[in-house]
């Protein structure tokens, strides 16, 4: 099914108590696409991302993975294996070495042989430029290094799509580029990615499609060139004028 989107979302709603965060969002993520989601804080962009792998259970609407609706009790665990996620605060496992952080899920979930998963982990560490840190522990690494390990950990499952939830927001400024460089390299390799970020340069350079979200709806959606140069909606203009 080459034309089936990897992820598609139909009429998604999410509320926390009285607060409605997403009010009817629909979108599709296609194979090989890099989709960047931008918007003011509190706009619902992180919530949308977290609904894609059901870390937040939507209050209404459906998320489809490769055409199949996600059903928490039936297929969620299997689908999550195909959807990698990189968090703002890395969420590495502090009691495990860098290598074990990466091999844990392939060994437990995919039943990959220890030796094979070790080799793959070392290869991924090389890819993110941290092969010499295999036996270190997360607390011994800088923020930027931790986030690169987190990317390697997500990649170890060979996910169909990678979700990034503000991956550079918790980093010191001088470490942001090392993480963005890794993400850029992944995008060039054709990795399907959905990225929530405040890094507009990244959105413009790497994004193939940019979604501007405000107050729980997709206000505007376009190629980065069009959206940044030539925003059509007043809210988009206002947001861009504040941050650019």
């Amino acid at each position: 099914m080459p034309n089936t989107p990897i992820l598609s979302v139909q009429n998604l709603f999410k509320s926390f108590g009285d607060l409605t965060v997403l009010q009817g969002v629909s979108l599709e993520i296609n194979q090989g696409e890099v989709v960047v989601i931008i918007g003011p804080s509190g706009s619902g962009k992180s919530t949308l991302l977290r609904c894609l792998n059901y870390l937040e259970e939507p209050s209404g609407g459906t998320v489809y993975f490769q055409g199949n609706p996600i059903r928490p009790r039936q297929n969620l665990r299997r689908i999550r294996q195909e959807i990698g996620m990189v968090f703002q605060n890395f969420n590495l496992f502090p009691h495990l070495s860098v290598l074990k952080n990466i091999t844990l899920a392939p060994c437990l979930v995919r039943k990959t042989a220890p030796e094979a998963s070790r080799e793959q982990a070392l290869e991924l560490l090389g890819k993110v430029g941290l092969e010499e840190k295999a036996s270190s522990y997360p607390t011994e690494l800088s923020g930027g290094q931790q986030q690169r390990v987190a990317i390697a950990r997500a990649l170890a499952m060979n996910p169909q799509v990678l979700l990034f939830d503000e991956p550079t927001s918790a980093l010191d400024p001088e470490m942001i580029s090392e993480v963005l460089d890794v993400m850029k390299a992944l995008a060039l390799e054709g990795q399907t990615m959905v990225v929530v970020t405040h890094e507009m340069v990244f959105a413009r350079e790497v994004g193939q499609r940019v979604l501007f979200i405000d107050e729980g709806v997709i206000v505007e959606e376009n190629s980065p060139g069009q959206l940044f140069q030539n925003p059509k909606k007043a809210r988009t203009k206002k947001f861009l004028s504040k941050i650019l």
């Binding site: 999550r80 969420n91 979930v109």
Partner: protein, 218 residues
């Protein structure tokens, strides 16, 4: 009446066999207590009906005296099942169930102290709830609960003296026996207190060492 050191020395061998039993009772009971408490703590945080059961267990045990629990197990249950329970088994049973309730609360707090981001990361990788608990949450929680578990061990070591009431010859009971023979309560109780202190002090030092060894990465 002058203080008789010789009496302290003479009673030491007997007291030490009692201390050995005290230590053994406590260790076995804390071991079972940790197993019971781990399940109770997890159950208390679960969403199913088990959480009410776990909460009831923890509340009832913590809300009733250990002495009364000992009586129920040693004198009450044998009447119900129509056969006696040996004193040692009754003591281990009572102390384990009692300790399990306190450990349950410690485990619950330990699990809750782990950043929810850990669970999110694990589930985003496709780990099951059980795998997440086993490989991510519990290893981190146990490191954090070593100090309160050490306190629980020390508390139980002292509380275990209550089972002397069912004629189990642990440290306090040995003291009573010696006093019955010598009529010298001051020396003997002082010696008993001293032995208790040596044990609890040694354990608290030991826990501190274990804590330092296990902490570097978490």
């Amino acid at each position: 009446m002058e203080f008789r050191w010789s009496l302290v020395w003479d009673s030491l061998p007997t007291l030490l066999t009692g201390a050995k039993l005290t230590l053994q009772l406590t260790s076995v009971s804390v071991f079972f207590g940790i197993i019971i408490g781990t399940f109770a703590g997890i159950a208390r945080l679960s969403k199913g009906p088990f959480r009410y059961l776990a909460a009831a267990y923890i509340d009832v045990i913590r809300g009733t005296p250990l002495l009364v629990q000992t009586f129920i197990v040693f004198y009450g249950i044998p009447g119900l099942i129509q056969r006696p329970i040996p004193a040692y088994a009754a003591a281990v049973l009572t102390l384990s169930i009692n300790s399990g309730a306190y450990v349950g609360e410690i485990v619950r707090a330990g699990i809750q102290s782990i950043d929810p981001g850990q669970t999110e990361a694990a589930s985003s990788l496709g780990l099951s709830a059980f795998q997440t608990m086993r490989h991510i949450i519990l290893p981190q929680a146990f490191r954090r609960i070593i100090p309160p578990l050490g306190n629980e061990f020390i508390a139980l070591l002292k509380d275990s003296s209550l089972v002397s009431i069912i004629a189990l010859e642990e440290l306090v009971r040995k003291g009573q026996i010696i006093i019955g023979r010598t009529f010298r309560p001051f020396e003997v109780w002082l010696a008993v207190a001293f032995i208790f202190f040596i044990m609890t002090f040694a354990i608290s030092r030991l826990i501190a060492v274990i804590e330092r060894r296990m902490m570097p990465h978490a």
